[in-house]
């Protein structure tokens, strides 16, 4: 009964502020648009050259993930920066419950919206490819590729949530989240010697995003199952400390 109430409360909080609509709206416009432009600009000759992958059009996820990450941060950091968190914890003293429910509500929303956006992007892009290049959802591995990006973006959102709960300060948390997503997990592998670069790159966020959205298994990226497991692992790296700190710290 109380738990139901906490769920209803957190769901209301999420849908009663504009930042939710702004962030998800930006992702919903940007990703299909980029998908359309990439597909539309692909020359039929590229297929002959052999370096064509119909899921290249999913690369808009690299931008959309930011919007998801920001929403994840805001979901928790806005409560700390306004002081609302004290009202929340005074209403529900079980902090672990509050944080778990917040995370669950956010994850479900991000996953649903993420899948809608990535599937839409897939369909838009495949229709925009020059004749003979596009594939259908029924093709081998296509559904996995369409859904993979949505899952990946929801994961980035949860990563942002964990960072937000640790940092508790909106600009600081967004900066940390971006630094991790863009710098540490994307560019950093490039700084390593070529011999290990690929090995490290496979496990970077970029590698995960690529692996989850590509249709053809390629050696540079982990298999889908491994990628999903890695997403949960990386999320746990921030969510576990976030929980421990929330239980321990003064609000």
């Amino acid at each position: 009964m109380t738990l139901t109430g906490v769920f209803a409360s957190e769901w209301l909080k999420l849908r009663s502020v504009r930042s939710t609509y702004w962030t998800l709206g930006v992702a919903a416009v940007l990703m299909p648009l980029i998908g359309f432009l990439v597909a539309h600009g692909t020359a039929p000759a590229e297929k002959a050259a052999g370096d064509f992958d119909p899921t290249d059009a999913m690369q808009g996820a690299a931008f959309a993930q930011l919007a998801f990450g920001v929403l994840g941060v805001l979901t928790i950091s806005s409560e700390y920066s306004t002081g609302l968190i004290r009202t929340t914890f005074a209403s529900v003293p079980g902090r672990g419950t509050v944080l778990a429910v917040k995370a669950a509500v956010l994850f479900v929303l991000l996953l649903i919206v993420g899948e809608i956006i990535s599937t839409t992007t897939f369909l838009v892009a495949q229709a925009a490819y020059p004749p003979g290049l596009g594939i259908s959802l029924a093709d081998d591995g296509a559904l996995g590729a369409a859904l993979g990006s949505g899952f990946y973006m929801a994961f980035i959102g949860m990563f942002g949530f964990g960072v937000g709960a640790i940092v508790r300060h909106t600009p600081g948390a967004i900066t940390v989240m971006m630094a991790v997503v863009f710098v540490i997990m994307s560019i950093l592998p490039q700084l390593f010697p070529a011999s290990v670069r690929d090995e490290i790159g496979r496990y970077s966020f970029l590698g995960l995003a690529h692996g989850l959205s590509t249709i053809t298994p390629i050696p540079e990226v982990p298999a889908d199952g491994t990628s999903v497991a890695l997403c949960f692992f990386y999320a746990a790296l921030v969510l576990v400390p976030a929980f421990l700190l929330t239980l321990r710290r003064d609000a």
């Binding site: 109380t2 209803a8 209301l12 502020v17 306004t82 002081g83």
Partner: protein, 306 residues
């Protein structure tokens, strides 16, 4: 009842609350008084289970606050008037709090009416004036119809109308039999609302007494007697014969301690001395409070050398 038992709160090297013990008795308005930085807000947060005491315990009805499953039915608190998401409407803000404690939407509508925010319930709270924010915070505190209310500096920054509204509200809540624990750094706020005072300074308990006792204990209560200059010597000897201590003021008035106005008036009458002035002077609570906390003010402006 709130019970604070030997609570100490340390932040690094600084001591915010130092072995503080007091009780907030049921059915009274207890004023929590002290200069800024005395540890009042920290103490309130510890009572609500938000901050953990370094040692000691703060209990509500003998239990830690965190052990309540739906605490809003027991305690309503206003800590910070701006503790809401500025983009959320007043109604949604209250509904979100209400849902977590199984409180009905009808109750949300009721408290919105009670604090007079009905007409702006659908507006984003970020657009509210300070007075409206305060009302929203009070509405949140009232949601669970709690028997115990805690307000941290509720009148800070409010205009006279807002101050009056809060005072009336607090008296009203007390009249309904609720327990109110309200903090302030201004004695004048307490004079008209509190039954009992807990005074702190630098995190330590300075006084814990009914407000009446503080008034009585306030040193310097005296009577001013003014008579024509030719009657002054006779008046002085009559008063000192009556056991009063007399100080002659520069303007010729007699400051009489140890005797009340009625006594001084009767003496003058018995001696046939016409009185030009007979006025009881109560040392103000503000003075009494200032005396109490004089040594405990943390940040005092140093006098600027001319």
């Amino acid at each position: 009842m709130i019970e604070v038992r030997g609570v100490t709160k340390r932040y690094g090297r600084s001591l915010a609350v130092d072995d503080l013990s007091f009780q907030v008795r049921t059915g009274q308005v207890t004023g929590f008084l002290g200069p800024n930085g005395a540890g009042k807000s920290t103490t309130m947060r510890m009572i609500l289970g938000l901050d953990r005491p370094s040692s000691g315990a703060a209990l509500v009805d003998g239990r830690p606050y965190r052990s309540f499953r739906r605490p809003l039915h027991k305690v309503g608190a206003l800590l910070d008037a701006s503790a809401f998401h500025p983009g959320r409407t007043a109604r949604d803000h209250l509904r979100a709090i209400a849902l977590s404690n199984g409180i009905s939407p009808a109750r949300v509508a009721h408290v919105l009416g009670q604090v007079g925010l009905d007409p702006v319930a659908g507006k984003r709270a970020g657009t509210f004036s300070l007075g409206m924010k305060q009302r929203l915070g009070i509405a949140a505190a009232l949601l669970g119809d709690p028997e115990l209310l805690m307000f941290d500096e509720p009148v800070n920054g409010l205009d006279p109308e807002g101050v009056l509204w809060i005072r009336t509200l607090i008296r009203g809540l007390a009249a309904e039999g609720r327990t109110v624990f309200v903090s302030s750094h201004l004695m004048s706020e307490m004079e008209s609302t509190a039954d009992h005072l807990v005074v702190v300074g630098r995190g330590r308990l300075i006084a814990d007494l009914p407000i009446r006792e503080l008034i009585a204990a306030a040193s310097g209560a005296h009577v001013v007697v003014r008579v024509a200059a030719e009657h002054r010597p006779a008046m002085i000897s009559a008063l000192s014969a009556g056991g009063a201590q007399i100080t002659l003021e520069p303007d010729g008035a007699l400051k009489v301690a140890g005797m009340d106005a009625a006594g001084a008036g009767a003496l003058a009458h018995a001696c046939g001395i016409p009185l030009a002035e007979l006025s009881p002077r109560r040392s103000s609570l503000e003075d009494a409070y200032f005396e109490l906390t004089e040594d405990a003010v943390e940040y005092r402006a140093k006098e600027v050398a001319a």
